[in-house]
């Protein structure tokens, strides 16, 4: 069938980060995810495109939500899933990342979903194995599927990100979510402000395509979307703020503070929530909260990502066979 315009084609067999994606590529993933969304609402929550494919969840850091979301996404595409986590594998016996990956590859895997404490680990892996690599969080660098599900959620509710003002609040330094969000949101035309105490903002922040504010009160009334990051006690060393109560007082999203916000502001959180710290329960469960929609949309977005990287890999195999 002839097409009037040249169709966009997805050609990446790895999803390593959003920084390297074009706005068209990001939009294409979101459009594809829209096609997957209703599958999770059906009686039969399964479709066949990854039948016979093997997906490995290779998690060197703790995760429940992301790992389960990827596992569900893979199984809803009919792939088989092998879980490989740090505690119950040879990873804890000192095997290197590449040895682990090569062993997995010898089992015939098609896609590796990797989370690793070291930034760049997924990219390293992608250079040494033939399988597709999907980054599920690397160090403080990126968490691309979280960024994608966040922009998917906003786009679905607001139609477009163009011109929207978005605040990302909290521990920016240790947040790969903030970075992936920043790339996805700015590439789609939103204006992003990082908000937090100076001690939790990265040293190179002025080189990033964002504004910076040290006061949530200055920002709250202007933004269309607010994303409250979790305070990651496990990553923060030293004393970035005097006390949890003080942090909460200045940077927590309270019911009181919400009174100053636009009535239709979208309240987001990547989870898990520290209730009463970065966000009060009445706000997290309130009518502006889209936190649970983010979780559901995450499955559709991850289905789209697994589907697309597999398509790109299949295309490459076909091209090699033909030449």
């Amino acid at each position: 069938m002839a097409h009037k315009t040249k169709e966009f084609k997805w050609e990446k067999k790895h999803l390593l980060g959003l920084r390297e994606l074009s706005p068209d590529e990001i939009s294409y993933i979101l459009d594809t995810a829209a096609g997957f969304e209703q599958i999770s609402a059906r009686a039969v929550k399964k479709t066949p495109p990854l039948r016979g494919k093997l997906v490995v969840n290779l998690f060197f850091e703790d995760s429940t939500r992301t790992r389960n979301s990827f596992a569900l996404a893979a199984s809803r595409l009919s792939a088989d899933v092998v879980e490989f986590t740090k505690n119950d594998s040879s990873v804890s016996k000192g095997e290197t990342l590449l040895d682990t990956a090569r062993n997995l590859e010898a089992m015939g895997i098609d896609i590796v979903v990797i989370r690793h404490g070291a930034g760049g680990a997924p990219k390293l892996l992608s250079k040494y194995i033939n399988a597709c690599v999907v980054n599920a969080g690397d160090g403080y660098c990126e968490h691309p599927t979280q960024g994608l599900l966040d922009v998917y959620t906003i786009r679905k509710l607001r139609g477009s990100l163009k011109g929207l003002k978005i605040a990302i609040v909290g521990d920016i330094t240790h947040s790969r979510v903030a970075r992936s969000d920043m790339w996805a949101m700015t590439k789609l035309g939103a204006k992003v402000t990082f908000v937090g105490p100076p001690t939790l903002l990265p040293p190179n922040v002025e080189q990033l395509p964002v504004k910076v504010s040290y006061s949530l009160d200055d920002v709250i009334e202007k933004v269309d979307v607010i994303n409250m990051l979790r305070i990651q006690f496990e990553r923060i060393g030293g004393n970035p703020f005097p006390s949890v109560r003080e942090y909460s007082h200045y940077f927590g999203l309270t019911g009181e503070r919400m009174k100053k916000a636009k009535p239709d502001i979208l309240v987001m959180h990547p989870g898990p929530i520290n209730r009463g710290l970065e966000i009060e329960s009445e706000v997290a469960d309130g009518r502006n909260s889209v936190i649970l929609q983010q979780v559901s949309n995450g499955i559709a977005v991850r289905m789209a990502v697994l589907f697309l990287v597999n398509q790109a890999a299949a295309q490459q195999v076909k091209q090699i066979k033909e030449t």
């Binding site: 459009d31 096609g35 295309q315």
Partner: protein
Amino acid sequence: MKVLLNSRQIEQILKKLSSRIVAGTPEDVEIAVIGIRSRGEILAQRLAAILAKKIKGDVPCGTLDITLYRDDINSPKNGVQPKVRPTEIGFSIDDKIIILVDDVLHTGRSARAAMDALIDLGRPNAIRLAVLVDRSGREFPIQADYAGYKTNTKPGKIVQVLLKESDGKEQVVVD
């Protein structure tokens, strides 16, 4: 390029198909029309409107995206990457007679994929296939219940259905 059907002939075929569908459907079973994206979607909407007038009742209409069920999903022809789009069926297909609509029936592979996709959505009373053009060259044991125009177009040629909603003009051509 040869024109097989013009807009008047397309309209007549749809009317004829709808008469045969009504005649072939028991009155006590609910009927619904589901089109295969993208030309089948448009034809299904037109067919549903004609059917609704004929039976003086509602005829639910939906759109099926078969991309995920295609058998060439991992080796698409001519490097064209199929885009996944939503299936939009806002009603239960259980116990209904589903009139599955496509523009051209050729190899039968799309119809196979569509049936698998439908069965994942429920258990219809029956699935009947209605097509505007029935072209020879079947690769699967699938036939249309309601076929409009029949043609023996040679392999390698392309039968293209152009509709005003998607293409700005209304005709069926062979290229």
